[in-house]
């Protein structure tokens, strides 16, 4: 049944938004982590992570199939293709007593801006809600369709 594709789109978006939420949680949790990675005998601070989103129907095969079958409109949905690290430089904070301070007393702190993460978090949770609404709407229509001819 074609209607179920609406479910697929919303479900893939729920997965993607949940992943965004997880990544944001990880960023906030590690906002003070100075030992994120161990590189060449030195600790590097945690780097902020971001999710890359992409429509599911971007591949050549999908577009070709859509055109060949005459069904206008590509197969719906969204997917998270990868998680990338924010390359902005680490914040330097003067704290000579910190165990990871360098010889000048500066500590490299993660490039996580908690304020930015909170904004992203609200955005992710609102998108999640919107997709739940869309899913419920599709479900309602499906149930209504079952009433045809009753």
């Amino acid at each position: 049944m074609r209607l179920s594709n609406g479910f697929d789109a919303s479900a893939s978006a729920l997965t993607a938004q949940r992943l965004r939420m997880d990544v944001i949680s990880s960023n906030i949790a590690n906002a003070e982590t100075t030992r994120g990675k161990y590189v060449n005998g030195k600790y590097e601070p945690y780097q902020r992570k971001m999710v890359v989103l992409q429509p599911t129907s971007d591949s050549f095969a999908d577009i070709l199939n859509g055109q060949m079958s005459g069904a206008s409109g590509a197969s719906p949905g969204v997917k998270a293709t990868r998680i990338i690290e924010d390359q902005t430089p680490a914040k330097l904070v003067y704290d000579p007593s910190h165990p990871d301070a360098d010889e000048n007393g500066y500590v490299k702190m993660p490039n996580v801006d908690v304020l930015k993460e909170m904004v992203d978090m609200i955005s992710a949770s609102r998108s999640y809600e919107a997709n739940i609404t869309a899913l419920n709407a599709t479900k309602g229509m499906f149930v209504k369709a079952l009433e045809i001819g009753k």
Partner: protein, 136 residues
Amino acid sequence: MNLLNGPEFSRLQGAINAAEMRQRVISNNIANVDTPKFKRSEVLFESLLEQNMGSGNSQFIGRRTNARHIPIGQSSSIPDAKVITDETSVMNNDVNNVDIDREMSLLAKNQLNYNYYVQQLNHDIKMMRIGIEGRA
């Protein structure tokens, strides 16, 4: 015999199919609200149907021997719903043009339309049943 294949029925069928397709397209738009460079799509059906049916009840009906002929007067064929992508507008910094408020209202509208079509279809079927059984 034309019990369930009349113009009323095929029009409703076309409308229900279009509403299903629109639901899919709007779900897709909402799913991609955070995708950079995504462009929203929409479904054209009602305007195409209106074009097909012609304006007013003209008595003069042109005969079409080819699908590419311009229909004159009322034509009974139901157009296929079309998906078009809106490439022109920009909503925010990431060149995405999904306006979530608009999509949510379109979603609600589409759901109500769908329910209305199904109800109308059920009504037609009920009328037919009354006709067949000869009692209300």
